[in-house]
């Protein structure tokens, strides 16, 4: 099958990669770009572990073809930190114990980052809605919601951590 040359702008860096058109975005990010923070979970659009931002919108990268994102801006969990400092949402997850095994964490970070990009002051219900598509088997979700609430309350300043 003829491979196609595409450009993915992952975490503000352009990657030119040759992919088989059937390559999923999650495969391109993990296997071609080499960033493994984004997880492959259910691969049936159910669990949310593969959530990334495409042009600042949260999507599940297991259900998007990499070729469809040619030229687009992708943000993964590795792209959240700024100049070596954790992003507010990352620090809030740490402080609130918003994970145990950590497998869902990058997806949770990206789903809630997508929410915070759209809405800086989400309500508790809006926070819960933003992670409805993300499954966590450890935390029971409350600590994740608390972390996002803390960011929404302005407890964490960008680049302060």
């Amino acid at each position: 099958m003829e491979k196609r040359l595409i450009t993915l702008i992952v975490n503000e860096q352009a990657y030119e990669i040759y992919v088989n058109p059937k390559t999923l975005l999650v495969e391109a990010i993990r296997d071609h770009v080499g960033l493994t923070g984004t997880k492959r979970g259910c691969e049936t659009v159910s669990c949310g572990a593969c959530t990334v931002l495409v042009n600042d919108m949260a999507v599940k990268s297991c259900s998007v073809l990499a070729v469809q994102c040619d030229g687009m801006k992708i943000t993964t969990s590795e792209g959240l930190e700024v100049n070596g400092k954790l992003a507010p949402i990352q620090k809030a997850f740490l402080d609130n114990g918003s994970y145990q095994c950590g497998f869902c964490t990058s997806g949770m970070l990206m789903a809630t980052s997508g929410l915070l990009k759209e809405n800086k002051k989400p309500t508790k219900d809006q926070i819960k809605e933003s992670i409805e598509g993300n499954i966590c088997r450890c935390t029971g979700y409350n600590s994740i919601v608390r972390a996002v609430e803390a960011v929404a309350r302005g407890e964490y300043k960008e680049g302060s951590v």
């Binding site: 099958m1 659009v45 999507v59 997508g114």
Partner: protein, 289 residues
């Protein structure tokens, strides 16, 4: 494992239709791919050519006109519909429906045209749009035609579209005066697929009787079903709780559900009965305001 395919990316609708005409029986169209990529990955769906219309921005629009009603392009995402002020104002039921359609991530990438073309009987837009009397505009290289959504589905995952055709637009007429429409679905997670879904629209006349009614059931058969005997219970009468309950009984008889891992046939009929009663009442309360 997805089987290999040749990827085609048209730059315009015209080009997409020409590609469809060239590869009629050996191609599939992908847009958001939120439904299509799952059977492809499971090996249930194999195609030689995949035509990707996600980038066709000429089909990504929401237009409203008081006379013509609502027009949505096929590649309009669920999230655009959900966030549209004009839809919120004139068709709030569509916003409520979209809000529960799937997770935010899926709504961000999936499209209305893709959802309707996929033809899953558990899909949310088809029952709601059918109660709103919507039509789909279908195009091929030979021309365009309009099909009422009610006549669009022929069997499980089957539509009236020929293999060289695709949906380009969804048209919804303006809401009649003194009308109401309500939709809900039963599921365990708020934005999961519905075990069943029920949409009801009603129009009241000057005397306060029900002039017109549409009851459409989702996931209660292989396609969305119009529960016509439930509609007969409602039309021509001044509606009451007793009639809403009677409409529910009639809708349960009209339903033709399967038993599966999510619910038995009997339970689905029960849900249709209860949800039809509730949605008819909710729609009527809006209409008789």
């Amino acid at each position: 494992m997805i089987h290999d395919f040749t990827y085609l990316k048209p730059g315009s609708v015209k080009e997409a239709l020409a590609m469809l005409a060239d590869h009629v029986d050996e191609c599939k169209i992908v847009c958001g791919g939120q439904s299509l990529l799952i059977p492809m990955r499971q090996g249930l769906l194999v195609t030689d050519y995949l035509i990707d219309i996600k980038g066709l921005n000429e089909l990504s629009y929401i237009k409203y006109d008081a006379k013509e009603g609502l027009k949505m392009g096929a590649t309009t995402t669920h999230r655009m519909i959900e966030k549209s002020d004009v839809i919120k104002k004139h068709y709030p039921v569509l916003v409520e429906m979209e809000d529960r359609l799937a997770s935010t991530q899926t709504r961000n990438w999936g499209t209305i045209g893709g959802n309707l073309a996929h033809g899953d009987a558990a899909g949310d837009p088809a029952p709601v749009l059918t109660t709103l009397n919507a039509q789909v505009k279908i195009a091929s290289a030979k021309g365009e035609r309009l099909v009422p959504l009610e006549d669009f589905y022929t069997d499980i995952f089957e539509t009236v579209m020929e293999h060289d055709e695709m949906i380009v637009e969804i048209q919804v007429p303006p809401m009649p005066a003194k009308s109401g429409v309500a939709y809900t679905k039963f599921n365990l997670l708020r934005n999961d697929m519905g075990v069943v879904g029920v949409a009801v629209s009603v129009v009241a006349d000057a005397s306060g009787a029900c002039k017109d009614a549409r009851v459409v059931l989702g996931n209660a058969g292989v396609t969305p079903i119009r529960a016509k005997s439930a509609e007969k219970v409602l039309v021509g009468k001044k509606l009451s709780d007793a009639l809403f309950a009677q409409a529910g009984e009639a809708a349960a008889a009209d339903a033709d559900p399967v038993s599966d891992i999510h619910a038995s046939e009997e339970y689905r009929r029960h849900l249709v009965k209860v949800l039809t009663k509730r949605m008819a009442k909710k729609a009527w309360e809006q209409a008789s305001k």
